[in-house]
Amino acid sequence: MIRFENVSVTYDGRPEPTVRGIDFEVPEGELVLLVGPSGVGKSTVLGAVSGLVPHFTGGTLSGRVTVAGRDTRTHKPRELADVVGTVGQDPLAHFVTDTVEDELAYGMESLGLSPAVMRRRVEETLDLLSLADLRDRPIATLSGGQQQRVAIGSVLTPHPQVLVLDEPTSALDPAAAEEVLAVLQRLVHDLGTTVLMAEHRLERVIQYADQVALLPSPGAALTLTSPAEAMAVSPVTPPVVDLGKLADWSPLPLTVRDARRRAGDLRDRLAARSPEIREPRTSPADPRPAAPPRRRWFNRTARPAAPQGPHTAEVRGLTVTRDRIRALHEVGLTVSPGETVALMGRNGAGKSTLLNSLVGLITPTRGTVEVHGRTPHRTPPPELIRHVGLVPQEPLDLLYADTVAAECAAADADAEAAPGTCRALVTELLPGVADDTHPRDLSEGQRLTLALAVVLTARPPLLLLDEPTRGLDYAAKARLVTVLRGLAAEGHTIVLATHDVELAAELADRVVLLAEGEIIADGPTAEVVVSSPSFAPQITKILAPQQWLTVTQVRQALV
């Protein structure tokens, strides 16, 4: 269905080809997962299928790509629109119209299908993707998972034989990701659609793949093998495979179920040991309160109001209402010094709102927020950044200058730090970035780290991160974990909002679950995630009822 014959792509102004000698064929009706670290040219390969590379992006493509018998050299993307459907990482960049039904019809209108056919297919697709209730809704009011489903639906209606997806679940919470993947599964099984997909979060998708196309490093040849074989040699692997490698299982398990069936032995070996819990660094002067926060909230009247309390941040009865939408309702949360807290919950559960309240971007409708005894939204920004710093979801929001050096100089000036402070941080966190690089030319992980360095220049004791692993591969994520662990060890308090259960398991001492703007669970990571089917990391699912969270813990215990 998709055939690459010795394809190399060189973008204008680059000395080296981005991908070289790609040679593979995807048979009809298979779901093929494209796997590899950041920057090996996965997006280029995907773009070549839809013809966007090189017709839209420019550059030179040598070799031949054929899709359903059509050569992309002679067919422009618009002439392939009836055989290839493409969905990118950001569904919002994909929408042309503003309501769900119109969006589903748009592709068919462009192809000139008859009104009766269009009507039937829209109804069919609404049912297939469970979008019938949303048909008249403006797209802007949908949640992330719903938007991604609409985006997939909008390319499905012309009945393409090939579906190309670039990180379809990166921005989604675990439940929404399941929902999208279930739809893909159904397309492959019921309709025989051929799917080629790239995704960094392998733990979510690997079990659905028929074959894996592995691009191990930039310029390397692409190999197409069974998932288990590919995982044995892949530089990027999900936790379940890591555990399989650790325990020397062969063939490697790809799903939690496979691994669980094999894990009896391992569980026995681990039974006597207990996971090494990272104790939050609390000074003896302010012992961590034993009572859960909810009780504390009721007790607050009994306690004398202390402006410089023992907590880094204290949120009491916080309600935020925006555009008549209740984003947060009566939220109470205290964060002690040195703690790492993960905020989890669905898209739109109020995680970002809570973080933004802590840095004063949002004024509470009711309730109080205190960070180091200060009210963030009333504190002047130059003073506030010394107490709390936020790395936003899109790190570029924080970067204004056109070179890394200028950005660092500006950060030093903003924070009134000694010149060179920020640059030293960048060099420490992100070795090998030249001064004159434009922040937009950095990779996702590098941008995040630069933004982190900018925020850290003011040395805020409380560090907030909003969805830090979006678009990061495992290597970048591992570097981030190391950096954040180091900061926590230095005494920084870290609060991060994330969908990434594996990251939360690696980093957090405590997990706070939000739903509909309310806190529904708050406790040590192991306790909270073990009891939740969607927020439990893979290792926990495999080794339950024992409370292991990460491969690292298991490895340390076995040594």
């Binding site: 503003d98 000139g112 971007l361």
Partner: protein
């Protein structure tokens, strides 16, 4: 009615995709397979429930009211017009983002009245008056600024005149706002002829560009707080300008790629002869329209003006029609121009016609005199005519929204 999508929906997955055979069939010959057992009726059947009114009808209705407003300065009639349009907007608008533009237009209208007042107070007015309300200190101006006055006496007559005048403009704006919030502007563009469709999409994309840009500016200005810089002030705006533009450009490129991959700009093969004829007709027609308009507007062109204008218009329209052949596009559920659309448009046009009639018959009632100052009276039958514009509220009320959804973004995904 076993042949509608609705029945099909209820019969489960196996027969839902029972059309799979038809699927491969439609893939080869997509446009040529309007299944014969599937006539069009389902659309009109549940028209009142699900299809919105044709956007053109709303615009014609609102513009008619606006035209009616230009015929009078009677504040009572103008207020009645505003109230009428507001009532219709309140009963007929859907719960959608574009519906919220009405408030913006209301604020704009108030600003217009305030501005008109301010000018009348500060710069004086050509209206002579006898009732002095207040005397402002007059700013002496040099000789070359003769005829301009700053400050001085403010007469009640001038104020009343300014109010009437401002109110008329405000009514016009509010009518446009009503059209905006009642009809989705992008749906209106869908009604363009095929040849203009791609231009229409470009306009739509450009229209969404501005709100996105504003949202970006707000987000980035807020983010300045995170860098420890004040988030207000002009300097802050300047500093985020470049990142905002870069972001907007990136988004536009992403959207262009998505549109290209979804078949935007596909064209059918037409013989070169037809293509050349199209170009010639369109260009020639437009030239004709220009020349004809010039002829009609100038004194000398009385004889040739009108014929040339008509000829040019015809040529341009034929050109557009031919150009439509190149477009392979079809329309998904075009809004039908049904009885309701006729009624809504008719009510608006009737109001305008009756206002013109009233003006011809009794101009004094529609333009209450300012000198001498008199209290405006409500002319009875023009007022009754305006109430005709309430018809849409009964013909095309908004359907009860499926969910009152006080928090639309909070649904489980």
């Amino acid at each position: 009615m076993t042949d509608t999508g609705h029945t099909e929906r209820s019969c489960g997955q196996s027969c839902r995709w029972g059309g799979t055979g038809g699927r491969s069939g439609t893939r080869q010959a997509p446009a040529s397979a309007p299944t014969p057992r599937r006539p069009q009726p389902s659309r009109t059947r549940h028209a009142p429930a699900s299809t919105p009114l044709h956007p053109g009808a709303w615009w014609l209705w609102a513009l008619s009211l606006g035209t009616a407003a230009t015929r009078t300065t009677n504040p009572l009639l103008l207020t009645l017009l505003i109230a009428t349009s507001a009532y219709v907007v309140a009963t007929c608008r859907q719960n959608a983002p574009w519906s919220r533009s009405y408030n913006t237009f209301l604020k704009l209208a108030l600003a217009v009245i305030a501005l008109r007042f301010a000018f009348a107070v500060l710069l004086g007015s050509p209206i002579p008056g006898t009732h002095t309300v207040v005397t402002l200190p007059e700013v002496p101006l040099p000789d070359w600024a003769q005829g301009i006055r700053l400050g001085g006496r403010v007469h009640a007559e001038a104020l009343v005149f300014a109010f009437y005048d401002g109110l008329r403009l405000a009514t016009l704006l509010i009518c446009v706002g009503a059209a905006n919030s009642l009809a989705n502007p992008t749906r209106l563009l869908k009604c363009l002829p095929g040849a203009l469709y791609e231009m229409g999409v470009a306009v739509v994309v450009a229209l969404t560009f501005a709100p996105n840009l504003i949202a970006d500016v707000q987000r980035l200005r807020a983010a300045r707080r995170l860098r420890g810089r004040p988030d207000r002030g002009f300097k802050g705006l300047l500093q985020v300008a470049l990142p905002v533009l870069e972001g907007a450009l990136e988004r536009s490129v992403a959207l262009a790629a998505a549109m290209d991959a979804r078949g935007y700009g596909r064209t059918a093969d037409v013989p070169p002869a037809v293509r050349r004829t199209t170009s010639a007709l369109t260009l020639g027609g437009l030239l004709g329209v220009c020349a004809g308009t010039y002829g009609v507007l100038t004194a000398e062109g009385g004889t040739y003006g009108l014929p040339v204008l008509l000829l040019g218009l015809t040529a341009a329209l034929v050109g557009l029609r031919l150009g439509g052949r190149r477009a392979v596009r079809t329309r998904y559920r075009p809004d039908p121009w049904d009885l309701r659309a006729w009624l809504v448009t008719g009510s608006g046009v009737a109001v305008t016609a009756l206002m013109f009639l009233a003006e011809a018959e009794n101009p004094a009632a529609l333009e209450p005199s300012v000198i001498p100052l008199t209290a405006p009276t409500l002319p009875l039958w023009p007022a009754a005519a305006i109430l005709l514009a309430l018809l849409p509220a009964f013909v095309a009320p908004a359907k009860a929204s499926p969910k009152p959804s006080p928090k639309p973004t909070k649904e489980p995904s």
